[in-house]
């Protein structure tokens, strides 16, 4: 079943302007695991009846990995091209499926002429829960499951968003167990700063393995993530520990969709 996701171009052709633009991001567009989360975010938007659209093939990398790696030229080329597209569609509000896109568009685009209200999908979910539009009923029960949450650096420390993603877990009929390194003390998954696109430097351990050791130490059965890079790193860590049966890595959006049977 196709989702019938509207694009900005279609909306414009019909003379409509959506309330919010869903910025999918490169991982959300191409990575198979992340694509599923992208579709889940669309399901949530459609379920609550928010008018939204995506850019489709008009979207391009925000420039985040280039900027973190030191390539400011490439970053600004990407940023200015994207801003031109966004401004042409008169975009006012953006929800992103990735903390890196979120941070870049929210904090680094305004200085280059791109001023938008930007939220991350965990904030959208929190808002919908607080408004009573989203609950955790009619779907899968998480009763008795030990769930922990891994803070993405660019959502947590980078932008001080610690509570929004936790809200989506607190409404489940189970207990949220925190790792010792959580919130502002959270441990990176190892993918930030463009590490996602290169081999790690020489060391005695991979960072994602260090993180999964911590997940194992608190006996969590589900690790909730809110970032496609964290998703890849944590999933790889679980796989390398041979714990795929015992530990599931799920995005906040996936958990919400499952809990509501969407």
């Amino acid at each position: 079943m196709s989702l019938a996701v509207p694009t900005m171009a279609q909306m414009l052709a019909e003379g409509k302007e959506p309330e919010i633009l869903f910025w999918v991001g490169c991982a959300g567009s191409f990575d198979e695991r992340a694509q599923k989360i992208t579709r889940d975010i669309c399901k949530i938007l459609q379920h609550v009846g928010i008018s939204y659209a995506v850019l489709g093939t008009e979207e391009s990398c925000t420039g985040d990995p280039a900027k973190r790696a030191g390539n400011e030229f490439l970053f600004q080329m990407q940023a200015m091209t994207n801003i031109e597209v966004l401004n042409a569609y008169n975009v006012k509000k953006i929800v992103t499926g990735c903390p890196h896109c979120f941070n870049t568009i929210k904090n680094e685009y305004p200085g280059l002429g791109g001023d938008y209200e930007v939220i991350h999908h965990s904030q959208l979910i929190q808002q919908l829960i607080d408004e009573g539009k989203l609950k955790a009923e009619g779907g899968e029960s998480f009763n008795g499951k030990r769930i922990t949450y891994h803070d993405p650096c660019y959502l947590g420390r980078g932008n001080g968003i610690y509570e929004a993603p936790r809200r989506a877990l607190e409404i489940l009929d189970t207990e949220l167990v925190e790792m010792k390194r959580c919130k502002s003390n959270g441990l990176c998954c190892g993918a930030g700063g463009a590490q996602m696109f290169k081999e790690p430097e020489k060391g005695n351990k991979d960072i994602n393995m260090e993180r999964i050791d911590e997940v194992i130490s608190i006996n969590a059965q589900i690790v909730a993530a809110a970032c496609p890079f964290c998703m890849t790193m944590l999933s790889d860590g679980v796989k390398n520990h041979d714990k795929e049966q015992e530990i599931k890595v799920l995005d906040i959006a996936e958990i919400t969709v499952r809990a509501n049977g969407l």
Binding site: G70, E72, F73, R157, C188
Partner: protein, 433 residues
């Protein structure tokens, strides 16, 4: 009379030397590039009150926080006593505050004594943590002989100063009881009275002890003042301005380089005319003078506590990167640059740079930009900014990024995604299930 003269000369020499050396550090800091951190003043005063004065970020490690708090409060409050010592030294008086302050004086001296013993105990504990318990945080490749000795010297000096202060009071307390000479009844001695029994009962010996400790204490303080510019202990002065000038933007936000904006605009729009042609000498940072004055101030503020390194994911997993080393290297290099200016004039080039001579590329590329180090620093130092500036130099001036990152750049440039996927397939996710 002669002792007053000696005191005044010592005091003047100590102040002159300190001002001269602190001035050199100020000059070195100002070798950095300009950055405006004078906006949002109300917020800046508030963050300084909270983080520097209130030490709120220290509380993440409660034991260290309490111990450090004793030393910090002790340092600030015992300075009131130093003020009295200064006046006594210049005018040849003895406990000049005792008369005007009356009964309050006893309360103050009593309070100083309690603080002094707390400072002493905290310093002993800190020494034990470093040298007996050997906390991991105080080791690492950058913690070579000098940084380790520096930390021990500071603690030992403080122990000696506090011991001298208490012994001086103990002798004074006994002399007061003996109604000896000018030792008038003044002050209360809740701590030193306990150790008074170990001192001689001979008033002459006591008077010599009291004077010797008085001189040791004040000369020690003046010497310590002049040790600061050579030591990590300089943080007691720079912590306050350093926090005042904090970055107030979200930690995830990296600066947009305006010099690049001009070039990119010209590239995208051939008719674009830049307002000013302030193209910098180079993009990013190869050496310390390419960094901002704030980066350099942070380097001199760092007290090498290692909270940053202990939470760095790269360091935890055995990589070469240590944020503390980034700060120490920056400080050592700018000090070297400053010394070169003093010795050889300002155009001297020693052929060295922060990159490669101090910080290796392997360290730079191990960073995940997770901001854990920035979050952990009790005085808001930002090692990540220096790492980013150096990456910018390596990538934009040298084109020496790791090949996998060059591939990523190529992908972003050609197909708008960091991976090798065709942009035409970007929307395929909607058709899957």
């Amino acid at each position: 009379m002669i002792s007053q003269l000696i005191f005044i000369l010592l005091l003047a020499a100590a102040i002159y030397l300190f001002v001269k050396n602190a001035g050199k550090i100020r000059r070195n800091i100002l070798l950095g590039k300009a950055v405006d951190r004078s906006d949002r003043r109300a917020e800046r005063w508030a963050i300084m009150a909270k983080v520097a004065l209130g030490q709120t970020k220290m509380t993440k490690r409660p034991l260290a926080a309490v111990m450090h708090f004793f030393i910090y409060v002790g340092f600030i409050i015992i300075n009131l006593e130093v003020l009295e010592i200064m006046i006594d030294g210049i005018f040849g008086s003895h406990r000049i505050f005792s008369k005007p302050l009356g009964s309050l004086y006893g309360l103050l001296i009593g309070g100083f004594e309690i603080l002094a013993i707390l400072v002493l105990l905290a310093c002993v504990t800190f020494l034990a943590r470093r040298n007996i318990a050997r906390l991991k945080r105080f080791s690492g490749t950058e913690m070579t002989a000098w940084p380790k000795s520096d930390a021990n010297y500071i603690l030992l000096i403080e122990i000696c100063l506090m011991a001298a202060f208490l012994t001086m009071n103990a002798a004074d307390y006994k002399l007061q009881a003996l109604h000896f000479d000018h030792y008038i009844k003044a002050g209360s001695f809740p701590v030193s009275s306990l150790i008074a029994s170990i001192l001689s009962n001979n008033p002459i010996t006591l008077a010599i002890t009291e004077r010797a400790c008085w001189w040791f204490h004040i000369v020690g303080i003046l010497a310590f003042l002049n040790y600061l510019p050579y030591s990590k202990h300089f943080h007691i002065l720079l912590a306050f301005p350093n926090v005042w000038y904090s970055n107030l933007e979200p930690k995830g936000e990296f600066t947009n380089m305006t010099s690049v904006t001009t070039e990119v605009k010209a590239m995208l729009d051939p008719s674009f005319v830049p307002e000013t042609s302030d193209v910098p000498a180079r993009f990013g940072a190869k050496d310390v003078t390419d960094l901002t004055w704030k980066n350099l101030m942070e380097a001199y503020t760092c007290t090498e506590c290692g909270r940053c390194t202990s939470v760095c994911p790269a360091n935890i997993t055995g990589k070469l990167l240590s944020p503390r080393k980034i700060m120490m290297d920056t400080r050592d290099r700018i000090t070297e640059v400053g010394n070169n200016i003093d010795q050889h004039g300002k155009d001297y080039n020693d052929g060295k740079a922060l990159l490669d001579n101090y910080i290796t590329r392997e360290e730079l590329w191990a960073c995940t930009s997770c901001n854990a180090c920035v979050e952990a620093c009790p005085v808001n130092i930002n090692p990540l900014e220096i790492i980013t500036e150096m990456r910018r130099y390596v990538v934009m001036e040298e084109s020496q990024a790791p090949s996998s990152l060059n591939n990523m750049f190529g992908n972003v440039e050609n197909n708008g995604a960091p991976w090798k996927y065709s942009n035409a397939d970007r929307f395929n996710w909607a058709d899957k299930e």
